[in-house]
């Protein structure tokens, strides 16, 4: 019996804690929101920070029912000191940006345990908002936006509960949703019409983010890449008939012309040459191409995921359409494109593809020499084979074909997990292992060609891409590829040795190729699921949604804004712009007015009330004695000793007139309100 009663009491306590104490409920909501923010920030946050955060949330939730179980201030301070040491220790390895995010999360976790004043609560809410901002650094997808909006709504509800103590949860939710609904049209208007300003500060690049490609290729790198199915970029064409066939979708990123025996990298000599040419203000071949207007032009748009790098991916040769790009893109002499600042967030670029234009030898002899340079560091067998090929065949064309044929018929195998080849990698690959992936084939071919006296270079980028819909291609990290360009008769021609070994890699993509070769890109329990039509449809739908989000919301930059305004208004003149901004502000003002006007109407009191309240407020300010719920005569009794005699008389008069006006038998002849106004004026003068 006693136990029953005790259990009942315990239940009652919990009920009391959460329902009858709105602050506890608000804190619970805040804790939940905070933990979901932590959950979304698992990438930048260190494990111990996540553990600390979840422990803090646990401690707070347990401490809601009794304050005794919360850690003392001393414990929290000790934790803070330890956390500072840990952060400084790990900070060097994770970079400035990530350590700042970690710092915020640690501060938040510690504060969660010591919320006892209003100020603490407000501080915590603000920090959580900042953490949400940090979340957008790593992900700008529509799902992130949706998730963070929900968390934001929770934070607002908990704020409303905390401050509006005693109001029921239902009413609070209603209140917050009304607030959000009211804010939404204003936000939309601001988004559409206020000029899209460039960021005020540059985001420090994060060390841990690595891109699909790097400017160095040591065969082995690209294998790890191929396992990632993350989106690299998506390309949008104007119609489906201008999209190149799968085998021709080579997205060029950079040319690797320097080889030290193991690693391919961008040549320092080329970098110097580019700089000198830029100083000399020599027109790049791409700008020449632009002005020549040779052949068909296919405009397209790419939306690049953040890479923290400057290189861009394009069908070669493509020229940037810098009038609409938000970041200036320059073309280099090897026909690759570079953005002027690193791409730190999802960005759209507008490009024009010239399918019929050749990639010419733009710097003449310098480029030829650069690409004939053969590293004498090991790989003797290959060099010997190259010399032999040069003796055997007369033209460069024939040499290239001979190498390609060798790959086709020499018993080579395509695999993503080749054996390690630490010494003489090309010799080992060509004459012993005979199995590898694109970088092995491209590297070996370029080396052989150079040994045979044919200028050649390795090109890296992406190959392929899957259609999201008839106009959009999505290129993922596993589409990363390396191929060969050989200089024949002054023109760089593209050769892809991988196509000799695994032809389906080009036409049907990596997955198909691996399947045929009996390998899988990654072993995933969802593989079976991915095959089902329903799952595929859902996946496509989500990809489509995310694509539309990036295109229409994230891609809405100054250029898009201008074009939208032009569509609406015709050509833009300063007068028109002014009119648009004024009307936008007016519209926003109108929306605000609609929001506030009904309230002021509701609050409109009888005249005598307003004068009385003004007088009371005046006296409250002057004397510092609050009326609270006292009646006027009680309040008069309280304040009259403090007021000077003139003010006291005037205040008495206001009170008496108010009483007569509101409680006595109505008397139409007397103009009480005017007399009240006069008395109020006297009070104002007397009180100063």
């Amino acid at each position: 019996m006693t136990r029953n009663i005790n259990a009942g009491l315990a239940k009652f306590n919990i009920y009391n804690t959460f329902v009858n104490q709105p602050r506890a409920m608000a804190l619970l909501l805040l804790c939940l929101s905070f933990s979901s923010i932590l959950f979304t920030l698992t990438a930048p946050l260190m494990t111990w920070v996540l553990v600390l955060g979840s422990c803090a949330v646990m401690a707070r939730i347990v401490g809601l029912s009794s304050t005794h179980s919360l850690p003392t201030l001393r414990t929290v301070n000790l934790l803070a000191i330890l956390a500072v040491f840990a952060l400084t220790w790990f900070g060097f390895s994770i970079g400035l940006l990530d350590s700042m995010i970690n710092l915020l999360a640690v501060a938040c976790s510690l504060k969660v345990m010591v919320v006892d004043k209003k100020r603490d609560f407000n501080l915590l809410i603000c920090t959580c908002l900042f953490l949400i901002g940090c979340g957008f650094i790593s992900s700008l997808s529509v799902f992130a936006w949706f998730g963070y909006t929900v968390i934001l709504a929770f934070l607002l509800i908990s704020t409303a509960m905390y401050h509006g103590a005693g109001i029921s949860l239902k009413k609070n939710i209603k209140f917050v949703s009304i607030l959000i609904l009211q804010a939404a049209p204003i936000a939309l208007l601001f988004f559409l019409l206020i000029p899209q300003l460039p960021p005020l500060w540059q985001m420090p690049t994060s060390k841990s983010t690595e891109t699909g490609l790097s400017d160095k290729v040591t065969p082995g790198d690209i294998a790890s890449l191929a396992t990632s199915s993350e989106l690299a970029f998506s390309a949008t064409f104007e119609s489906d008939d201008v999209i190149p066939a799968p085998a021709y979708r080579y997205w060029r990123a950079m040319t690797l012309e320097h080889f030290d025996g193991k690693t391919w990298s961008i040549s320092d000599k080329r970098k110097q040459a580019e700089q000198q040419l830029a100083i000399m203000n020599k027109p790049t071949p791409l700008s020449a191409l632009e002005s020549s207007n040779a052949g068909t032009v296919i405009p397209y748009e790419i939306i690049v995921e953040p890479t923290q790098q400057t290189w861009l991916f394009a069908l070669a040769p493509s020229t940037p359409d810098n009038s609409t790009n938000s970041i200036y893109v320059s073309g280099l002499f090897d026909y690759t494109l570079r953005a002027n600042t690193p791409i730190s967030s999802k960005k759209a670029f507008y490009l024009r593809y010239f399918p019929n234009a050749p990639i010419s030898n733009s710097i003449g002899n310098f480029e030829t020499q650069l690409n004939l340079d053969v590293s004498t560091n090991g790989n003797e067998k290959t060099r010997a084979w190259g010399v032999q090929l040069a003796q055997q065949y007369g033209s460069a064309q024939e040499i290239v074909m001979a190498v390609m044929t060798e790959f086709k018929n020499g018993g080579f195998r395509y695999t993503l997990s080749p054996n390690a080849m630490p010494t003489d990698p090309i010799d080992q690959f060509l004459f012993e292992e005979r199995s590898g992936f694109c970088a092995h084939y491209a590297g070996a071919m370029v080396y052989t060609l150079r040994s045979a006296g044919v200028p050649a270079r390795m090109v890296t980028g992406y190959q392929g891409g899957s259609s999201l819909n008839e106009r959009v291609l999505q290129i993922r990290q596993y589409d990363a590829h390396a191929w060969v360009e050989a200089l024949i008769d002054g023109v760089w021609l593209r050769y892809d040795p991988t196509s000799m070994v695994a032809p389906s890699r080009l036409t049907f993509g990596l997955e198909q190729a691996l399947e045929e070769l009996g390998e899988s890109r990654n072993t995933n329990i969802l593989d079976g699921l991915e095959k089902s039509a329903f799952f595929a449809a859902v996946q496509t739908w989500f990809q489509q949604l995310d694509y539309s989000w990036s295109k229409w919301v994230l891609g809405f930059d100054n250029a898009a804004q201008t074009s939208m305004l032009e569509d609406l208004l015709g050509t833009i003149t300063p007068e028109k712009m002014r009119a648009v901004f004024l009307s936008a502000l007016g519209l926003i003002g109108l929306i605000l007015a609609f929001y506030f006007l009904p309230i002021s109407k509701r609050e409109s009191l009888p005249y005598s009330y307003r004068i009385m309240l003004k007088a009371v407020k005046l006296v409250e300010l002057h004397t510092g004695i609050k009326r609270e719920h006292k009646t006027l005569s009680d309040y008069r009794y309280d304040v009259s000793p403090v007021l000077n005699s003139e003010a006291a008389v005037a205040f008495d008069q206001v009170c008496e007139l108010f009483e007569r006006e509101n409680y006595a038998i109505p008397d139409t002849e007397k103009h009480t309100e005017l007399v009240m106004k006069e008395a109020l004026n006297t009070l104002k003068k007397a009180i100063k």
Partner: protein, 344 residues
């Protein structure tokens, strides 16, 4: 055990201390007749001006008065003095557990000693047929007797054997009740408490007042009659005509609805209570010599009118709750403080 009793005594004395915080500013202005009456009454009940004024207000508002006090505090003296001052007929019923309704209301008596033609029933009026009735220790009587008194109070008439007898016109019941934790009591149910317009407790007199009382020599001399029945009727009519503006009605409504919306109040105020508050405010305004009621009037009578209605039924409360002051008076004051009299 002894210690506990002592402690209890202490608490009781704290409860019935002279309550000066009832005093309101509007105590300062009064009608001349009322001042005269109050002065006359205060010869008998010394130092209890506010309670006297409340009692007068209750009489003017044509309501019944409940006095909750320890024995010997002057309940009887007060009711007797009131009847003397207003020139009203007075009777006293001492309630005991074996008191029957007929003992109070009266009985039909068969006159058997008369001759056959004149043998008949005649009604012998009980002590309730009186203008001022003191129902002493009401909660010692059985529920049956209690309810017959309360019925008579509400209806202002008595029905016996199918014949209805009207009670005299100013009909004013002053009931006293021992604190409910005393033994041998039948607590009044909430429905019956609601019928009492006002509850006051006189409490111990202040030091000076008690000294003055002890120095009195002519204790038993009756008070002079100041007003008569007609004057009382006229004054009661005037009270009815006191002006109450919308602002006052709204204030009363806000107070009442706060007691209903807020879960702090176990017994929300009934419409009868809101009517009583307004009536009390009117009477208080009349006493203060004003033609209209103000929020101060409402506040002055509010605690006396609502405290006994807001109290949770005594059997719901534990002993400690009853004595720790977690009672109607506190609830009533809380309610008064939580509502702004000046909100539009």
């Amino acid at each position: 055990m002894l210690l506990l009793k002592l402690n209890q005594n202490h608490i009781q004395s704290a409860k019935f201390k002279c309550d000066t915080d009832f005093l309101n500013l509007s105590d300062n202005y009064m009608r001349q007749e009322i001042i005269d009456i109050q002065q006359a009454l205060s010869q008998k009940i010394i130092g209890k001006n506010h309670q006297l004024k409340l009692a007068i207000t209750c009489l003017l508002a044509n309501g019944h008065l409940l006095i909750e006090d320890l024995p010997g505090m002057g309940k009887t003296t007060l009711s007797h003095a009131l009847s003397q001052v207003f020139g009203l007929q007075y009777s006293r019923i001492q309630f005991t557990s074996d008191l029957l309704p007929s003992d109070m209301l009266g009985v039909n008596i068969f006159h058997s000693h008369e001759t056959d033609e004149t043998k008949r029933f005649s009604f012998r009026h009980g002590p309730i047929f009186s203008q001022v009735v003191l129902a002493d220790e009401l909660n010692r009587a059985s529920p049956k007797t209690q309810s017959s008194l309360l019925e008579a109070m509400e209806e202002r008439q008595v029905s016996i054997d199918g014949v209805t007898y009207a009670l005299p016109s100013p009909f004013f019941v002053i009931a006293t009740q021992n604190p409910s934790y005393q033994s041998g009591t039948y607590p009044l149910p909430e429905s019956q408490l609601d019928r009492f317009f006002m509850r006051i407790s006189l409490g111990y007199p202040a030091w000076e007042a008690e000294k003055a009382m002890l120095m009195q020599t002519n204790i038993s001399s009756p008070l002079p009659q100041i007003l008569d029945e007609k004057d009382l009727h006229a004054m009661q009519n005037e009270v009815k005509n006191i002006h109450t503006s919308d602002a006052i009605l709204h204030y009363v409504l806000r107070l009442v609805s706060e007691s209903r919306d807020n879960s702090d109040y176990p017994n929300p105020l009934s419409p009868r209570a809101s009517r009583a508050i307004l009536q009390g405010a009117k009477a208080w305004a009349f006493v203060a010599g004003r033609e209209y009621a103000t929020p101060e009037d409402v506040q002055a009578v509010f605690v006396a009118i609502t405290a006994h209605r807001l109290t949770a039924a005594s059997h719901h409360l534990s002993h400690s709750q009853q004595t720790s002051g977690n009672d109607g008076e506190k609830l009533s004051k809380n309610l008064l403080n939580s509502v702004d009299p000046l909100a539009a």
